[in-house]
């Protein structure tokens, strides 16, 4: 048999197979289950309501709040400047640039912290960085920032400072309570550092 015929017999069926099967578009996971588990249990993905409130009040441009609840709930109430990415839409291509970036600090929030944490897990497993979760979600947000509870009079000064800060922030964000005069602002919890996404350079080649 001629080499050309032999080649044709071998390579045409392969070509037919590759033309017929769908292209592999799966996105590989970047973290192993163990790595993800250790990150999730370290709870380093959580940011406190105070940090977020402080950033909102000071109009920190690096903050981006992402509401992962469904659009109806987002319409009813959302945090200032928040954008809505429902959890079910998380993997939609239009949001990739928002979720996988190294400029802003994305903070997911939902009513509790469960849905937001799910969103964080998915994005983290894809290797995305700079995504965080609002600790306790909106419920805890209302408890601490919008309607802070006055600490008992025997509480240490730090508790009062925290209370004053929460109250001022809550006022600035449209919650109840009056600002107390000469309230010493507690030092804000350090916000998580934004880490650069390692840009993968492609393998070069040539003749």
């Amino acid at each position: 048999m001629k080499p050309r015929v032999l080649l044709a017999l071998f390579i045409i069926p392969l070509g037919l197979i590759i033309a017929a099967v769908p292209q592999n578009k799966t996105t590989p996971f970047k973290l192993s289950a163990g790595e993800l588990l250790s990150e999730a249990t370290s709870r380093s993905q959580f940011v406190t309501p105070e940090t977020v409130a402080g950033m909102i009040v000071s109009k920190d441009p690096s903050l981006r709040l992402i509401d992962v609840r469904n659009p109806d709930e987002f319409e009813k109430y959302s945090l200032p400047e928040a954008i809505n990415i429902p959890l079910s839409e998380l993997l939609s291509e239009q949001y990739t640039d928002i979720l996988n970036q190294d400029i802003k600090m994305n903070v997911f929030y939902s009513n509790g912290s469960l849905t937001a944490n799910e969103a964080w897990m998915v994005t983290r497993q894809l290797g995305y960085q700079n995504n965080f979760v609002l600790e306790g979600g909106l419920n805890y947000w209302f408890e601490t920032i919008m309607n802070p509870e006055k600490p008992a009079s025997t509480s240490p000064d730090e508790e009062f400072a925290k209370y004053d800060f929460r109250k001022s922030a809550g006022m600035a964000l449209g919650g109840g309570g009056a600002v107390q005069a000469q309230s010493s602002q507690p030092s804000l919890p350090v916000k998580p550092a934004i880490t650069g996404v390692p840009k993968k350079k492609k393998a070069a080649g040539g003749c």
Binding site: I11, L14, G15, I18, A19, V21, Q23, N24, P28, K201
Partner: protein, 196 residues
């Protein structure tokens, strides 16, 4: 999951080492296929010997099928594989210069080193010319930078420009290649040469 070096499965140095081994294999195959003979290489332009076309197209479709199947099996992420940037003007001008040089010299840059490795004088002369060209290009870069960088088209793939899937384009390329092999063997019979 490939590419190995990009995904840090092997180090950059191991990558170079593998490239070195593959390079030696590539050179060996080139030499054994007769690519160290400028007369054999130039045969493609006169029709009496189509080994260049056959070897390179076989290599291209083999590599293409390999990559597509590897991607299908999840062994390589094709999005991380380098696609040459296309500067249309310089691609056309460079193609013409390369083609004319190939007909005149009987070598392309890679095969000239292949010929030189077995001591072919014409290959050494060709390499001399190659370096003169490199010097002219490098030292006069300011003069042709405008032309060189003109008509940038990004990193296009033919399958994307045609709106076909990679697999379907692959099949068409295989059929085209086999058609060309058939035409080339017809030409070899039509324009035979006794000794070259």
């Amino acid at each position: 999951m490939g590419p190995l070096a990009i995904n840090e499965i092997i180090s950059e140095n191991t990558n170079f080492f593998l490239a070195f081994i593959i390079g030696i294999g590539f050179g060996f195959v080139l030499e054994q296929s007769g690519f160290s003979s400028s007369r054999k290489l130039a045969g493609i332009f006169y029709g009496y010997d189509a080994v260049v076309l056959k070897v390179f197209f076989t290599a291209a479709i083999t590599a293409m099928l390999g990559l597509l199947f590897f991607s299908l099996f999840g062994w390589i992420d094709l999005d991380l594989v380098y696609v040459n940037p296309t500067y249309l003007t310089s691609a056309i001008i460079g193609g013409v210069i390369m083609g004319v040089g190939f007909i005149m010299g009987g070598y392309c840059p890679g095969t000239s080193f292949c010929g030189a490795s077995i001591g072919k004088i014409d290959a050494l002369v060709f390499i001399g010319g190659l370096f003169i060209g490199v010097m002219i290009f490098g030292l006069g870069y300011k003069l042709w930078e405008g032309v060189y960088m003109a008509a940038f088209k990004g990193f296009p793939k033919i399958s994307e420009s045609l709106g076909l899937s990679d697999g379907l384009f692959g099949l068409l390329l295989i059929i085209a290649a086999l058609g060309m092999f058939w035409a080339a063997e017809w030409a070899e019979k039509r324009f035979p040469r006794e000794e070259y």
